[in-house]
């Protein structure tokens, strides 16, 4: 049974959980969103700063489980510095991995540390934890690009 758990709680995830990267809310930013996962109480405030078509900064304040915290940290590592277009591509690849129920072999070239979340896709109850930051980032990025009317800042998927 611990091998099942080890597939979920990869060392990379536990490392990011204990020492999250890019933590804290910073200026400047074009959009700030607050996303919650009402079933477990995870909450995330995330800011996006775009500059010259690139993701200049992702900063955040988050409370939640190891999977959601680590996912936020990995996202920031992965997307900061990429062009918005590339970052949206990574987002799509990560989303597909999470929805794969364990059937996709993750592409390390694209996903880097985020391949550690492949095991999460086999735990349906935890997929939402891994996706919280990614959905927040996409929302904030869309708002920064002016493709979404403000203020659509709080979303939730389910009420308990």
């Amino acid at each position: 049974m611990s091998s099942e758990l080890d597939a979920l709680y990869q060392e990379i995830i536990l490392d990011h959980y204990k020492n999250p990267h890019h933590q804290g809310l910073r200026d400047p930013f074009e959009a700030e969103v607050h996303h919650v996962n009402p079933t477990c109480g995870d909450e995330l405030t995330l800011r996006v700063h775009l500059e010259d078509g690139a993701v200049a900064d992702v900063s955040y304040d988050a409370v939640g489980c190891s999977i959601s915290q680590a996912s936020t940290s990995v996202l920031a590592d992965l997307l900061i510095g990429k062009s918005v277009e590339e970052a949206l591509g990574v987002h799509q690849t990560f989303l597909e991995l999470m929805q794969s129920k364990g059937t996709i072999e993750p592409d390390e070239e694209v996903l880097e540390d985020a391949i550690a979340f492949a095991g999460v896709s086999k735990f349906p109850a935890r997929v939402k934890c891994a996706l919280l930051a990614w959905m927040a980032w996409k929302d904030a990025t869309a708002q920064s690009l002016g493709t979404l009317p403000e203020p659509a800042t709080t979303t939730s998927t389910q009420e308990g």
């Binding site: 049974m1 611990s2 099942e4 758990l5 979920l8 709680y9 536990l14 009402p38 079933t39 477990c40 109480g41 995870d42 909450e43 409370v63 939640g64 489980c65 190891s66 999977i67 959601s68 735990f123 109850a125 935890r126 934890c129 009420e159 308990g160």
Partner: protein, 423 residues
């Protein structure tokens, strides 16, 4: 042997087919999420199947043989529920789809024109330890009417702070609504004492018995009139019955004073295009075809509990909860959120473990076959009070064994070692 356990526990467990399920690894399933929903005995399942196979028809409207049988079964369920609660009259039992709907029925109709209408400047009082379903409908009532919502807080041990009684229960107070047993803290609240005070100022007293009905013997008729609530709600699926059926008990005086909730078939007396007159209670509040087979299943469920005896169920719950509190207390860094005195609490035990998020605790426990709930348990304000967002909750019931509690404690210890909390 722990004193107070159901004497034929192994026999009782055989009534619940799902308890023989195993995990994918072949281990036993340890179901400790009964405050969320309880498991169902064979007799409830069989009664519902038999009804659908042999007696299915609409109730009250169908005059043929099957219609008469279905009506008898449905109204028989009302009698069984009335007897389970010790209700002064069977007409005071209203079937709803769940406890939330029952609370919404009361909160909504109290905002409508009538003798009891809540208005601007009135006070509606609840508590900080309510399930969201006993907070939100009252917030909505206050928004609609301009009334003000106020609430009892609770202390570090999880007991209501009654020193606020004079400030909260005044001439302005029109409604006092509270849970009998907290779904998160487990606290058993002194509903009689609060109802007595509320009645002195003429307020309507509503009790959420969603967690009390499964565990405590209830005898409404035996309560002193001043301490008896005016309305009490519970849900079928937590008392070994099916989902889709809830109960509102309301005193005749309250139900007759409240205007109808939903309009439609069966809640009317005469309908004319220029206006309608309404049926008497309880039908006034049962518009449309009701959840018939669910009510029949609930009837079988409360009969099952009555046959075991609610005193015996309560004693079992206390014995198992005491054993669980003792076991969890042995785990380093574990803190129980709620009373530690087993005589003043129910069987839902919420806890946090320093250094591991409840969601992660839940997942590790689940891989060992131990089913618990992680989250805010629809009681976010109560969690805020403790400065936490969520907790892990283990909740036992009449079929829970000491060995299952041992499995819980072992799994919690394993969680601590898996996350290397001592390294």
């Amino acid at each position: 042997m722990i004193e107070g356990l159901l004497p034929d526990l192994e026999v009782v467990r055989k009534d619940f087919p799902i308890l023989t399920r195993t995990t994918p690894g072949g281990g036993p399933l340890v179901y400790l999420d009964s405050a969320n929903t309880s498991q169902k005995p064979q007799v409830v399942i069989d009664t519902m199947v038999d009804h659908l196979e042999r007696h299915n028809a609409n109730v009250a409207r169908a005059m043929h043989m099957l219609g008469a049988e279905a009506t008898e079964a449905f109204e028989g369920a009302r009698d069984k529920v009335a007897s389970f609660l010790g209700a002064p009259s069977r007409d005071e039992i209203v079937f709803t789809k769940n406890a939330s709907e029952a609370l919404n029925l009361v909160a909504t109709t109290l905002g409508l024109k009538g003798d009891l209408q809540v208005g601007e400047g009135d006070l509606v009082v609840t508590t900080e330890m309510e399930h969201h379903s006993n907070i939100v409908p009252w917030q909505m009532l206050c928004e609609r009417t301009g009334a003000e919502l106020a609430w009892f807080t609770f202390d570090e041990q999880g007991y209501l702070d009654l020193s606020d009684m004079d400030r909260l229960i005044t001439e302005r107070t029109k409604v006092v609504t509270l849970t009998w047993v907290s779904n998160m803290l487990g606290t058993v609240n002194p509903i009689g004492e609060i109802a007595r005070r509320a009645h002195e100022v003429g307020a309507v007293v509503v009790v959420d018995a969603s967690q009390a009905a499964p565990q405590l013997p209830i005898d409404l008729a035996a309560m002193p009139a001043e301490e008896r609530p005016d309305a009490l709600v519970f849900t079928g699926h937590k008392v070994v019955g099916p989902t889709g059926i809830g109960v509102l008990w309301g005193s005749r005086a309250l139900l007759e004073a409240l205007p109808p909730f939903l309009g439609g078939g069966e809640m009317i007396e005469t309908v004319r295009m220029t206006g309608s007159t309404y049926a008497g209670i309880p039908y006034k509040f049962e518009a449309g075809t009701p959840p018939i087979v669910e009510a029949v299943g609930l009837g079988a469920a409360v009969d099952y509990l009555s046959a075991l005896g609610m005193e015996a169920v309560h004693a079992h719950e206390q014995a198992i909860t005491g054993y669980a509190l003792e076991g969890l207390a042995s785990v380093k860094g574990l803190k129980v959120l709620g009373p530690l005195d087993v005589t003043r609490r129910g069987g839902a035990v919420s806890f946090e473990i320093e250094g591991v998020h409840p969601h992660d605790v839940m997942t590790v426990l689940d891989t060992r076959g131990v089913a618990v709930r992680a989250g805010h348990h629809c009681a976010r304000p109560a969690h805020e009070k403790y400065g936490v967002q969520s907790s892990t909750r283990a909740s036992s019931y009449l079929y829970t064994t000491p060995a299952e509690i041992d499995a819980l404690v072992d799994a919690v210890e394993y969680t601590r070692s898996y996350f290397r909390l001592d390294n």
